[in-house]
Symmetry: C2
Subunit: 364 residues, 2 copies
């Protein structure tokens, strides 16, 4: 089968070049020193060949995001969801006040878990717009004494994204970047901690990246499981126990690919072009609709509805027949969602737009 | 490069047939209904194609181990090490008594973490034999009121294995099976909970299997992170959040391969043959030594020392040149260790034995 464009929200499309390279060396890894005779999956995480992979991946990520030296990069497991627990367990004592901005379903999950460990203050909520915008920072009700301010930079389900990094002053900004990390350059120094599940812009599911400022380490509370303690992983270069080696390797391939394609400034250009094309198709039509405030439209996840929801199944079936797959909206919201991560080529978005215009003509 | 035999303790050798099959469909997954046009790594975990993979993997594991219906199989992340925390958090309240058998370095890690959450009673220890045996169950000092009895069925570093399943009566037996699961048939009904990191006999690192009896679910303590609560995963068929899809898929391939090769009775025969060959080479020589009590010798991990430790480097270098890699003993104990998991072919062990005999002749 050829020319499948995969709009899955995650696990999601990976760069074809990376997949082909991984395929070529899947049984016999090609190291910088030549073939090693075994698969990456079969290599001890403490072997020289894997240590080289791990070190290069970290260095390339540091280059891509221009991560300052006083930030540790951790390669972990458990997804962003496990970080919902780890963050309060590491950054707040029991009963401490922590500030959360409520922007949708993923923010809500983070809030729900944090409430089990800390005194959560929801300092702003987009509920009044049905989570189709990010609350204006002018109206955030910061706590006087919160340990951190948590944001969900890009809501994968709602397709809502922060318009830049919020200025929280001297407060510690903690952000879930799962569905937007590496989509554009980012000033990491504005954050205390950034975390992201890998399965959108980084690599396969089963890897979670945490980028944390040095001075925030070492304060995990007593009941924090050892493997949820950031200090454990910082001390051991993420090898306190066996890391997800294959996912780490794949992430390294993706980082290296992104660098070769011009880094994150170039990625941003490509992503904006794709997003503009799709939003224009939606906005130029009276058949498709995206509810998100213009300033907060995600360039990664684009939800849209059809004028007549009874046509949803026909749309999905015909799209699939045209090679455009995984367009069904999240089960909680319905409609459609096109996730157009870094690895989605412009041709994929163009093919989707062409299909949408054709479908509208035939059914609108 | 050809004919590399990889004795890594984990991540470890995988069946060549499985790797080749995975390679062939890495870019375009071949489902039972034909090619799907995307990589397994790019598929939503909630897609029909992945749900089919997940369901078949679980069913095949249930068949392989004849797992009774009243046991849940969970596909998790974090390795056995994260389970060291999860077990007391799920099965004991703060201050509850729990019994642990101390058989070596992995048991010790489990004990150390459990002590942070419960009143740990070390009911038996092999310290008096320098952890070269499993303490005789006749001498285990069971607590009257412990919530469970924890064993490390096979010590990966020490090469020490239980000689059968200990009879703990009505007590709940919890066992770390990371380095021996699927090496032979197992009466799962004798256990309350079995856990295993995947990276030895199951698949790539980044997947952890937990097999838990139904009635032990639902008792996690308040401070247990949601993703460490077994009930969370049981309720969601291990898809509360995005699971490590590629590792799960690989595990399914390994399960299916094992079934095709005759199941675990046949695996046991193959493993015993390999282990007997290697132990005979060691025992027939005055140059190599394995310190483990005969009844407790692991058929998966075979540590051995050379009569003269100054020859270790030469042994490792010449072995590597002969295509026999990852034979260095764990950094904490030195010497050699040959891990001969399911996927190590008999020819690999034969090649190692031939090399050992030659090396002894030249240097003994």
């Amino acid at each position: 089968m050829n020319d499948i464009f995969n709009f899955s929200a995650g696990p999601a499309v990976l760069p074809k070049k990376v997949l082909q390279q991984v395929q070529s060396e899947l049984v016999d890894y090609l190291s910088p020193d030549g073939n090693v005779g075994v698969s990456v999956m079969e290599m001890s995480h403490r072997s020289a060949a894997f240590m080289d992979i791990a070190t290069r991946a970290e260095a390339d990520l540091r280059t891509l995001l221009a991560i300052p030296d006083n930030y540790k990069i951790l390669f972990l497991q458990g997804g962003a969801t496990l970080q919902f627990s780890a963050i309060p367990l590491n950054l707040a004592a029991a009963g401490d006040r922590v500030d959360y901005v409520h922007t949708g379903q993923w923010a809500n999950k983070a809030i729900k878990e944090a409430k089990r460990y800390a005194d959560v203050n929801i300092i702003a909520s987009a509920e009044n717009t049905n989570f189709t915008s990010v609350p204006d920072i002018a109206n955030w009700q910061f706590s006087d004494n919160s340990k951190y301010v948590h944001t969900t930079h890009n809501e994968t389900i709602g397709g809502v994204c922060f318009d830049g990094i919020p200025d929280v002053g001297e407060r510690i900004l903690v952000s879930d970047m799962s569905s937007c990390i590496l989509s554009e350059p980012l000033d990491v120094s504005r954050f205390g901690l950034i975390y992201a599940g890998a399965q959108k812009n980084i690599g396969p599911a089963g890897l979670t990246i945490v980028i944390v400022r040095d001075d925030l380490l070492g304060n995990a509370r007593q009941e924090c499981p050892t493997l949820l303690n950031y200090q454990t992983h910082a001390d051991a270069d993420s090898m306190n126990n066996t890391p997800p080696t294959f996912a780490w390797y794949m992430a390294g391939k993706v980082f290296s690919h992104l660098l070769a394609e011009g880094g994150l400034a170039a990625a941003k250009q490509r992503n904006q072009l794709k997003a503009e094309l799709l939003y224009k198709t939606i906005d130029d039509s009276s058949f498709y609709q995206n509810p998100v405030a213009l300033a907060n439209r995600s360039i990664m996840n684009v939800p849209f509805t059809l004028a007549n929801a009874e046509l949803d199944s026909l749309f999905l079936n015909q799209a699939k027949a045209a090679g455009l797959v995984e367009l069904k909206g999240h089960r909680s919201v319905g409609g459609m969602r096109a996730s157009i991560y870094n690895a989605m080529p412009l041709e994929g978005v163009q093919a989707l737009c062409d299909f949408m215009e054709k479908f509208e003509k035939e059914n609108g």
